[in-house]
């Protein structure tokens, strides 16, 4: 159980700018929580605070009731996995190398039989068994993203935090990625918190959506509660047109004034 209690996070020389203002949130177990909001709303910062990548300055984040700042990094990494948005790779490692790094919190670099088994499981679960000896710079963007997810699977944590996993992915790979995230929850019982830019992906795949603006949580709830013009228009400072398609709410966010129809 991860709970965020009254976290205020500021940065700048005189700490004059609050990135998070008194944010409280309880992460729903075994479901997908999507954080949405405009650029600079504090989504990534909140993710960083929840994973203790950036320790909370005021307020507290608890992992199973214990202040996460007081837990050793090595212990946190057995429970919480975190994947950042950009994976610029300047190193040449194979898919298997990467997935083996995921076992590091458990074995410290010396893989035992059980660790190797976990690696193989993660590779085959993510359909990477055929290309496990390929270098990461030789495979497609979608495959690379899957390799990182496989690493997190090998890390074997109940909590998974993803910061904009769909960045740089085309539509096909984005959908594939979200399906994978969905399976992580439905088949493996993981708890996933994901920052998404595209609200339609949030609407389609998340169980719970948290809408953020200017460092505050504006509203949280089910997709049906959040994907409404009343909530989204102020959050994004934009006029949305929301329609229903095959039982899911869909946002149309092209400029209505424009003569050219974008969709």
């Amino acid at each position: 159980m991860i709970e965020v209690k009254n976290v205020t996070q500021s940065y700048g020389r005189f700490a004059d700018r609050d990135i998070l203002k008194d944010v409280s949130l309880t992460v729903r177990e075994k479901s997908i929580t999507a954080l949405v909001g405009a650029n600079g709303a504090g989504k990534s910062t909140l993710l960083g605070v929840m994973t203790n990548l950036v320790p909370a300055r005021q307020g507290v984040v608890t992992l199973d009731g214990v202040d996460i700042r007081k837990i050793k990094t090595a212990e946190v990494s057995k429970k919480v996995a975190f994947l950042k948005q950009t994976q610029q790779l300047s190193v040449k490692i194979t898919v298997k190398d990467l997935v083996e790094y995921g076992r590091f919190p458990h074995c410290g670099g010396r893989l035992r039989t059980a660790d190797k088994l976990k690696v193989e499981e993660a590779l085959s679960y993510m359909n990477l068994a055929d290309i496990k000896n390929s270098y990461l710079d030789e495979i497609s963007g979608g495959q690379r993203q899957r390799a990182f997810i496989a690493m997190i699977l090998a890390q074997d944590t109940p909590y998974i935090f993803l910061d904009e996993p769909l960045n740089n992915l085309d539509i096909r790979y984005s959908v594939e990625m979200m399906k994978v995230v969905y399976r992580l929850v439905s088949e493996l019982g993981k708890t996933v918190v994901v920052v998404l830019h595209d609200i339609n992906f949030a609407a389609a795949y998340a169980n719970h959506i948290v809408a953020m603006k200017d460092g505050e949580i504006v509203k949280e709830g089910s997709p049906d509660e959040i994907i409404t013009t009343e909530v989204l228009n102020p959050v994004f400072d934009h006029d949305f047109h929301i329609t229903c398609c095959e039982g899911k709410s869909v946002c149309l966010y092209y400029d209505k004034a424009s003569k050219r129809c974008a969709i």
Partner: protein, 332 residues
């Protein structure tokens, strides 16, 4: 298939290493002192081998292997393929340390010299890494450029200090890398210690190379591993500098060449990397002894020429990582 290929590569490198070792021991100013004589029990050959040839060859292998590993760790820590002890002021600071030891203590033992060189190298490298951490440059070439300027400043200070204390000649002597020096070679055995630590921490250094957040996600104490890496780099640079002098380009091109063959997973490739570096320097050393036989050229000259050419080729091709990805595997 992949395994077989990997094994062949390693086997060829080991074969080359053995041949080069033999040549390195066989060739020398005194052509009577060769392997046949040594085995036959010739006294002159025995003396030459034990006091000159063997220490020299060991010094080559250890310093080359050490600098290759130091270079790769530096590139991992800075996530920059253009970094090496020579492009971060480490080597220049080691020279400065040596000079300071000469000023205050006069002619001291190698261990004291190495300690001074090590302390200065470590401080300078730590200062440099803390400076570049504050700079947010996107272009990877800027950092080694700044490092070279930084090294330039350090060596300018050394020169000024040397001039003031009338130690210019000592300074000039420091600046030449050579395996022909006698006496100080034993210092190079110090390199074994950091090398053992690099093997033990190999996985950690590779993970550091994937970035701060990535390392922290895996529960790694980032700052501690970086510090250990810097200690290893400084120790290797200092002891090779005191023992054989600067060996330019080794820490830069060997890791780049080796990783393009073996990849960046240090745990898998560290022995290959050491072998690669050792073979490269053995070839350079043997050729610099053959060019004007029975005299010899400074090995740093040969390394500079060969290394410079290879470095140019890499620059023109684009170091790997900035290179465009090769043919994409089937998506899906």
């Amino acid at each position: 298939m992949l395994f077989a290929k990997k094994h062949w590569k390693r086997l060829i490198m080991i074969g080359a290493f053995v041949i080069l070792l033999f040549l390195s021991l066989e060739i020398g100013a005194l052509s009577d002192a060769n392997f046949a004589a040594f085995i036959a029990g010739d006294e002159t050959a025995r003396l030459v081998f034990i006091h000159s040839r063997i220490p020299r060859t060991v010094a080559i292998v250890l310093s080359a292997a050490g600098l290759s590993v130091a270079g790769l760790i530096m590139q991992s820590i800075s996530r920059n393929k253009f970094m090496s002890p020579t492009t971060a002021g480490t080597t220049d600071a080691a020279a400065f340390g040596l000079l300071v030891a000469a000023i205050f203590l006069g002619h001291t033992s190698g261990i004291v010299q190495t300690s001074f060189a090590f302390a200065f190298a470590l401080l300078a490298t730590m200062l440099f890494t803390s400076i570049i951490r504050r700079l947010k440059f996107r272009e990877v070439v800027y950092i080694p450029l700044i490092g070279m300027m930084y090294g330039g400043v350090i060596s300018a200070i050394s020169t000024a200090v040397a001039f003031r204390f009338e130690l210019m000649q000592t300074m000039v002597a420091f600046g030449m890398g050579s395996f022909a020096r006698l006496g100080n070679f034993t210092l190079v055995y110090i390199v074994v210690v950091p090398l053992i630590f690099s093997v033990l921490y190999a996985t950690k250094f590779s993970i550091i190379g994937l970035g701060h957040d990535f390392a922290k996600n895996l529960g790694l104490n980032y700052n501690r591993v970086v510090f250990l890496g810097l200690v290893i780099i400084a120790l290797i640079s200092a002891s090779t500098f005191v023992a054989v002098g600067p060996l330019p380009f080794i820490g830069l091109i060997i890791p780049n060449m080796a990783t393009s063959f073996y990849g960046d997973n240090l745990k898998k490739s560290i022995y290959d990397l050491m072998l690669f570096g050792a073979n490269f320097v053995l070839i350079c050393d043997i050729s610099s002894r053959l060019v004007i036989h029975p005299f010899e050229m400074n090995v740093s000259v040969t390394i500079s020429v060969v290394g410079g050419i290879i470095f140019m080729i890499y620059l023109l091709r684009g170091m790997h990582g900035t290179k465009k990805p090769r043919a994409k595997a089937t998506a899906g």
